[in-house]
Amino acid sequence: MRGLIRYFRRNLSLLVGSSLLLLLVVFVVTGHFVVDVEDARALSVRPLQPPSWRYPFGTDRQGRDLLAVMVAGTPLTLRIGFIAGILGVAIGTVLAFAAAYYRGWADTIIRGIADIGLTVPGLLVLIIIAVGIRGGLSVNQMALVVASLAWLNPTRTIRAQVLSLRERGYVEIARMSGMSGPAIIFFELMPNLLPYLAATLVNAVSSAILASIGLEVLGLGPIDAPTLGMTLYWVNFNAAMINGWWWWWLAPTVIIVLVFLGLFFVTVGLDEYANPRLRKSA
């Protein structure tokens, strides 16, 4: 524990990032005790109330308590990000290992698909997919939509990492000592890649959230769900800015900024951990 604290003191980014995320978690958890999340549904409270003791974040035009919306919506947005991010990195890792370890045609195909996939503009594909799905999108479906492209980048970057790792001496020794391919991957490569994978994951989560909020702001998200992006959609639809209902967009904006800042600093911190050369040695 003390080692951890000491490490945090050296890796400020990681400290700042995790603190921000922790802050959000604390907010959501205590929020669940303080406020009735059912009030995140329309018609629950008096509409358009500015912040007060009763409604600290105010209420929106359709009678949602914005505090409840934030308490209910923040985890939903994070859920989209994490489902998509984890799926993306998991698929990406498997493909990357297969490609980088075995090389040959498997590598050619996987790298080819990932490279071509990355040239197609992501948001465009996501919009087409989101439009193509019939019936209202649920939060989980939304996550799957975003995940459909979330594996491309991890595949490419992890593949590059594995390629450099497999040239290291200890892999060579393991191979000469007769270890099987999968065993080398699990026991030799994986542990060394973990910090890098963690950074990739956080990155993927961040991109997934970005993509999901983008879709939601365009009105292509789960209309029913009180996610942060949908809240912004309603803000925009109701012209809250020009009508002076500042509290309506203040809360989601601040939380989204916190989410991205938190994730960003965690990535930077993990990068620093995984790649100490970046440490401020200069």
Partner: protein, 593 residues
């Protein structure tokens, strides 16, 4: 030995030069993007601001995509985006004034069996290129539409009714019908979005109506009879300048408009439009939410609406909004379910939340316009019995229980097999996001499973019947009930061809017969029409094919900084929608402030 491992290859002294050259080339490519795009032709000097009328309407995401399309019959064109200003009709009709203005036509006369129509056009009208307007143009337009049929707008309507149109002399058109068509002249008359645009034969002859653009500013195209000439059209704006001479002004039918220039901007979002109105860069806008109006009035007291500065900030459109239920999908095929859902909707609260109170409920799927009032009156007793605006959850519960539905463990209504009643509502535009969440919540609170979607392909799903619930309006009657009744026809014998506008997919043979009967009744035969209308409502009301919600309001902010005499409740000479075919009437009524 190491020394000669590589010999000196030819150096590349041009590398730096090449770099420089490529940077220069890149800059050269990047720079000319600011060059103006099409439409920058010689223009008359800009008139002063208080002779200029600027409005924002339609377009998509802030740009016009149809700026080259000035043939209103070409497939991508829409009369709402400008052609309504320049192509003149045989006659205008103002529903608010309940008044017809004969225009290119002087008079018309039906044969007693409604199988023939004789139209007299006014002499002495000229097209903007100087060619005389004549009966030939009308006959050419009608015959072309008949031949084109489904390829162009109004083609089907003309094709079904018209046998042939003949110009018997320069000012007389005789139209022979295939079937009795007592509403044909009214159909051709401009009102709201319906009316036949008359095109110049000397330009359109030999052109493919579907692809002809009719756009060449240098040539003076589009050629029309109206007072406006298109002088600029780009994705950013469409500019119409007043011509020096206009036949209608010379005739004393209307004054030469005080507006010298019209600038139409594409709608770029509510906040953007509001800001332009507040800063007087805009004289009229559209698409505003009720909640934005108080902000507008506060920041620019010169802004008014049809209702002044009061709620509902607009006038009642011809397009009452319903919650459509797909009558072909179980359990919505049962009238008990439809009525139960209707009873679960608190319309006062709906209006409160979705429109901040700036709306009114709708009892029947047609607007409560003065000419329609007799028909509303004729079914007062029926409406009392079948209250389409009633909010009575207990009654709703009773209806569902009576029909064999039970609440399941989760507190949701389900059928005997345990399948929940599930209303997945789709919506679009303004009404969907405004009312959708409220309706979903109301249903959920009464134990009806419900969700909302705003699919981009709303029209496709809705019109193909791939929906269970949908928020949508009715484009039907204005002055007599036939058009609205026709919306619910399962099939029609009087008008050949299947009838497909029945979005609710409700079918009733007896009802169909009554509507066919009404088809042949002259639109001014009010007594007969009332009789058939009541009979039809006796079938329709107990069934309630779709759930009546609210009237649609056109909330158009109008800026009196530069222009006055806008159409308002006190001065309702016409409805003020600048996208409707009657907007030229507003333009010649406007006076500089």
């Amino acid at each position: 030995m190491a020394q000669d491992s590589k010999t000196a290859t030819h150096p590349m002294p041009s590398r730096r030069a090449l770099l420089k050259a490529s940077v220069l080339a890149g800059t050269a490519i990047a720079l000319p993007w600011q060059a103006p795009e099409g439409g920058a032709h010689a223009q008359p000097a800009a008139p002063p601001r208080n002779r200029t009328m600027i409005l924002s309407w339609s377009g998509r995401e802030g740009r016009w995509v149809d700026f080259e399309l000035w043939n209103p019959y070409s497939i991508g064109a829409n009369h709402q985006n400008g052609p309504n200003l320049i192509y003149e009709p045989l006659a205008y009709y103002s529903a608010f004034a309940d008044k017809t203005y004969m225009w290119l036509a002087e008079s018309y006369k039906f044969a007693p069996d409604f199988k023939q129509l004789t139209i007299k056009t006014r002499p002495g009208i000229t097209w903007s290129d100087g060619a005389p307007f004549s009966a030939e143009d009308v006959a050419f337009t009608l015959n072309s539409l008949r031949d084109l049929g489904p390829k162009v707008r109004w083609g089907v309507d003309v094709h079904q009714a018209v046998e042939k149109a003949t110009a018997t002399d320069a000012n007389t058109v005789v139209v022979d019908f295939k079937i009795p068509s007592p509403r044909f002249f009214f159909f051709m008359t401009y009102k709201y979005d319906i009316g036949v645009y008359i095109v110049p034969k000397h330009i359109f002859a030999g052109q493919d109506f579907t692809t002809f653009k009719h756009f060449d500013i240098a040539k003076g195209w589009p050629v029309t009879t109206g007072p406006w000439q298109v002088t600029q059209a780009t994705p950013q704006q469409k500019v119409f300048d007043r011509r020096a001479k206009w036949w209608a002004a010379e005739r004393g039918l209307a004054p030469l408009p005080a507006v010298e220039r019209n600038i139409w901007l594409p709608f770029a979002g509510e906040q953007q439009t509001a800001q332009l109105l507040i800063t007087n860069q805009l004289d009229a806008g559209t698409g505003m939410q009720p909640a934005t109006f108080p902000t507008l009035f506060r920041q620019n007291p010169k802004i008014i609406t049809h209702a002044g500065q009061k709620s509902p900030y607009g006038y009642m459109d011809w397009w009452p909004i319903s919650l459509y239920l797909n009558n072909e999908v179980k359990p919505f095929d049962r009238k008990e379910v439809r009525w139960a859902l209707s009873n679960y909707i608190d319309r006062d609260q709906l209006i409160d939340v979705a429109y901040l109170g700036a709306c009114t409920p709708s009892k029947l799927p047609m607007p409560q316009y003065p000419p329609l009032q007799p028909y509303f009156d004729s079914v007062k007793d029926l409406l009392a019995k079948h209250d389409t605006n009633g909010f009575d959850p207990k009654k709703g519960d009773a209806l569902l229980s009576g029909a064999g539905f039970k609440k399941d463990s989760g507190g949701f209504w389900a059928d005997a097999a345990g399948k929940r009643v599930n209303v997945d509502i789709i919506g679009f535009g303004g009404s969907g996001p405004a009312m959708g969440p409220v309706l979903v919540e109301m249903f959920k609170r009464r134990g009806i499973e419900s969700s909302l979607g705003l699919p981009p392909d709303f029209d496709d799903r809705f019109q193909k019947g791939q929906y269970t619930g949908s928020i949508y309006g009715h484009g039907g009657s204005i002055n007599e009930p036939y058009a609205t009744l026709r919306l619910y026809q399962g099939s029609s014998i009087a008008v050949p061809g299947g009838h497909q506008v029945n979005f609710a997919r409700w079918k009733n043979a007896a009802y169909d017969k009554l509507v066919d009967e009404m088809f042949a009744v002259a639109p001014d035969n009010t007594r007969k029409l009332v009789e058939i209308f009541r009979a039809a409502m006796e079938i329709w009301l107990p069934e309630l094919p779709d759930i009546q919600l609210v009237q649609n309001y056109h909330r158009i902010p109008m800026n009196t900084t530069y222009w006055k005499n806008w159409p308002t409740a006190e001065n309702p000479y016409v409805n003020g929608a600048h996208w409707h075919l009657t907007f030229p009437m507003v333009l010649w009524n406007l006076q500089p402030a």
